[in-house]
Point group: C2
């Protein structure tokens, strides 16, 4: 059983990715980040998902991305609501956090190196999040190349693999795959702007994409939405 590092945000995508890593025979070491996001609902969800999937370990890393600023996910900027699919795809959204996936993967690489893991899984998706530069296949390949130059393990001849198994799947495909692997999506949290009670807003880009994915599967999303 080989170890793998899985970036687990608590959302639908990363829960599915963790289940895929488990299916593929990896011992899953999950890592999540407390990065100054405006709400903690996603970290609570990450902990629920980690328990549900029976991961070998789950670390929460403190990162101060708020000091960096420049995003509606960390700053006091309004999260856009009710955007059309066309609007979502045409510009890089204000919910983009500068260099976030680069920083997350850099940490994952450090943990992989000290854990003798050669595999890192992340739930980026090029279809739904085409507006995020660090969710594209060329970003993932460039990071894999960097990983093999940046590390002792890489220099000594091991190869790191960055797995992004959702890269070309639609949200509906991801949900279908996750359900076949036994993922309980009722434990996940995707909303960019949940109510203090934890209920999802239903109107931010992330909620809209999620709801549409369930709708295309003709099943109800098990999480609660604000009325």
């Amino acid at each position: 059983m080989r170890p793998a590092i899985v970036l687990l945000s608590g959302g639908l995508d990363s829960a599915t990715v963790a289940a895929i890593a488990r299916r593929d025979g990896f011992v899953v070491h999950a890592i999540s980040f407390r990065y100054g996001q405006r709400h903690m609902a996603e970290l609570a969800a990450a902990a629920r998902v980690a328990r549900h999937l029976g991961v070998a370990s789950h670390r929460i890393i403190d990162l101060d991305l708020r000091a960096m600023g420049g995003s509606a996910l960390t700053d006091d900027i309004d999260v856009p609501k009710g955007r059309s699919p066309h609007e979502m795809s045409e510009v890089i959204p204000i919910t983009y956090v500068p260099a976030r996936n680069t920083i997350f993967l850099a940490y994952a690489l450090g943990f992989a190196e000290v854990s003798d893991a050669k595999d890192i899984f992340l739930g980026v998706n090029a279809v739904d999040y085409s507006g995020y530069p660090d969710c594209r296949p060329e970003f993932v390949s460039a990071f894999e190349q960097l990983a093999n130059l940046a590390t002792k393990a890489g220099v000594e001849g091991s190869r790191f693999t960055i797995h992004a198994p959702l890269l070309n799947l639609s949200k509906a495909d991801i949900i279908q795959l996750g359900r076949s692997l036994g993922v309980d999506y009722g434990l996940t949290s995707s909303c960019y702007d949940p109510a203090p009670s934890g209920e999802a807003c239903g109107r931010c880009d992330s909620c809209q994409l999620r709801l549409q994915g369930f709708e295309e599967n003709k099943i109800a999303d098990p999480i609660r939405y604000a009325a």
Copy 2:
């Protein structure tokens, strides 16, 4: 005057790099990391150097690399002393911190993006630190490539440049260059294992390389060493 992000550790190399960035006409925004290193002498040195060079800003970022483990610089592992140049070059030293430069550059990239800076400077050196995988020219190029794929600015057509002006200089060359730019090396700290009073040990790899660099220039190192 274009802004640049400079990784400033408080050591001899990064002080020189900050002076080079200033010479090249950049407005210097320095960043340092409190990353669980065993001693704080280098952060105090970074603050002195930042003041001395009159940088536009100096941010200290908290990072928990100690949670990651695996290095004599963050863990309770003895720093090697009195190694010969041959021993220094033949294996990756225990003072290597997993993925450290990848994490530092990832942060620098985020700050560059929010500051509209297209230039990042770091003091890696392939001659003296050939044992560190993330101090090699191919690592720097791979990160530059990643930076242009990872970011909104990169996607929108700006190009990031990762400057590593010391890459092929010897320690003696670096000292000579820095002195010509007015760097006061008495403010810097290079030791991996300084005394509580701040005095350098004189025997770790970093002290030895530094002392040799001053010796080759036939000048005295202005910092204090333990007797």
